[in-house]
Symmetry: C2
Subunit: 340 residues, 2 copies
């Protein structure tokens, strides 16, 4: 392996015949130094290509200027957008970011937290895995007084700051849209029931139905495990329901896309035979045929807000009292829902 040796203050000091402290002060532009000395040191540092060792600095001040991020999966466009927002803000505020993915596994999530904490990150931004249904590891963080903020996939009871979407409102909007387009027998395809978003979007769905005087019918709520096979199975079940539903609202776009693909292969016409809508506004949803009606969630914005608040807490700008930031979503009506 190569040496990859970094120039240190000690070496500059030796070369110039002064002490390390003097080097340190010169590079911090301390006023108590002779200008000439300072000039020489700065010059030598540049010439020798000196770069401070952030590890040493962090150790000394007990702050690493690094944040940890845990998302279920990076390859999801939504989470990638969040990360992008987090990075941008963190960098402009002088922080680095270490990213981990839990791969939707509770064990991985715990392991990630452990690693990041050991790496002395100053704070954490966490979006929970699908599997996460007990929260000891989060309470543990809380008790150890480690700063963290939950976003998107949150646990409601923990007294830390959270950034979420108005999931209920978004679901309400899209179901209302389906109702306004004349649908009355509307299926809700939900993910696993203990998921935060499964619950919230169901609430919005039910609220819209109630507002339009449509009776609740639990047989219209289908659960998928979110795998492709699971989604296809649900798609088939829906086609076999009698009377056949006239619209389907899927909890997330990928489910809707799988359903659409399956239906198309069976010759079902969308939206003529049955209307379809999703949630998230993945890039894919705009280009499928027909384009998918959905609800846009600005992931980049969410990332920015979450990290912004965390940094405010770390920098003492915001108080430590937990707050809840709720982002509004936007209905994106497209062809898949426009039947009359």
């Amino acid at each position: 392996m190569k040496k990859g040796h970094q120039v240190t203050m000690k070496e500059i000091a030796k070369k110039l015949g002064v002490s390390v402290s003097t080097i340190s002060r010169a590079l911090k532009d301390s006023p108590e130094l002779h200008p000439e000395t300072k000039r020489k040191i700065v010059e030598a540092a540049k010439e020798m290509n000196y770069h401070p060792n952030l590890l040493a600095q962090s150790l000394r001040i007990s702050r690493s200027k690094t944040l940890g991020v845990i998302v279920p999966e990076i390859t999801s466009h939504f989470f990638a957008s969040c990360i992008s927002g987090i990075q941008d803000i963190a960098n402009t505020r002088g922080y680095n970011v270490m990213i981990c993915q839990s791969n939707e596994s509770l064990e991985q999530e715990k392991a990630n937290i452990q690693t990041l904490v050991s790496s002395q990150v100053d704070g954490l931004l966490i979006s929970l895995s699908r599997e996460t249904n007990q929260y000891d590891h989060l309470y543990d963080l809380y008790e150890r007084e480690i700063n963290f903020v939950l976003f998107d996939r949150v646990q409601e009871d923990i007294p830390v700051s959270k950034v979420t979407f108005n999931d209920m409102g978004g679901a309400y909007q899209v179901v209302k849209h389906l109702l306004e387009n004349g649908s009355r027998r509307i299926v809700y395809v939900s993910g696993p029931e203990d998921l935060y978003i499964s619950k919230k979007r169901k609430e919005g769905y039910l609220q819209a139905l109630e507002e339009f005087g449509v009776n609740r019918d639990n047989s219209l709520i289908k659960i998928t495990d979110l795998t492709e096979a699971g989604n296809i199975k649900v798609a088939q079940e829906i086609l076999n329901m009698r009377p056949r539903p006239d619209a389907v609202f899927c909890m997330i776009d990928p489910v809707a896309v799988d359903v659409m693909t399956e239906w198309k292969s069976q010759g079902v016409k969308i939206p003529e035979d049955i209307a379809l809508a999703g949630f998230t506004n993945n890039p894919t949803s705009a280009v499928v045929e027909p384009p998918l009606t959905t609800v846009a969630q600005p992931g980049y914005e969410m990332g920015k807000l979450a990290v912004g608040h965390l940094l405010d807490q770390l920098d003492g700008i915001a108080s430590d009292d937990p707050i809840s930031i709720v982002l509004e979503t936007t209905l994106v009506p497209r062809k898949s829902s426009q039947h009359f």
Copy 2:
């Protein structure tokens, strides 16, 4: 801000009335320690919820067990897949990963390198930005003997290891496929000409043409700046060419999708009027209508290989002599190219 205090060896030492060195040895399971002492220390450490400070360890051994990754943008599915592969391997081999995005900017790329190096990463994995057309920052890394591996978007002349796709072969495959389906007047929509992949894929395009005895016609090579507007402009220009081309091969899928969307809005039938193919196999490409013929690049695999080789170098398993790993691509024929 909360304290977020971490338990240190010193505190365990004080509590147990032994020296810090003893704590250290106990936790490393050193054999020269009295078993009873060891037991007590391990127990106390667990009870006090001790976790080693990786910063301090890194400083001491001058290895951070952290890798830096720089990609043009995280929100690209391809790069997200690479990152995913990098993470998985890095973690199983005991390394952490810091990810940065250059946002296709040379300046950002330089800044990212600077930050990561200052953070004492043990090595870097870099995919160059589109803007990067001079390479001082890379040669600088090379001279400072900092380990790094280039992947996907590489610079060929630098004597470091590189992981690439057989871009030329992939392009050859897809153009051959178009030729076999009867097309003869085939447009190549290229990105900026100094991009590595622009060049390589052009080579494959030309080779296939030559093999089928089709004369080269430079007017059939169109350049886009890869923005949506640029792509649409090219799409329109192609429709106005006389005689009209019978197939179009776009350098990357997003370009092909923009072209498809534009054409569909103009009533052009794909593949009947004109065949279309892309490159990358983005998730989107499978669900557009018609599904897009493309070339699959296994990003996850690329990430795994790149990081694997870098770690092999760092761990002294592989020699420092640069190698070039070339991954094969796979033609994914879909409906967009099947006209007869």
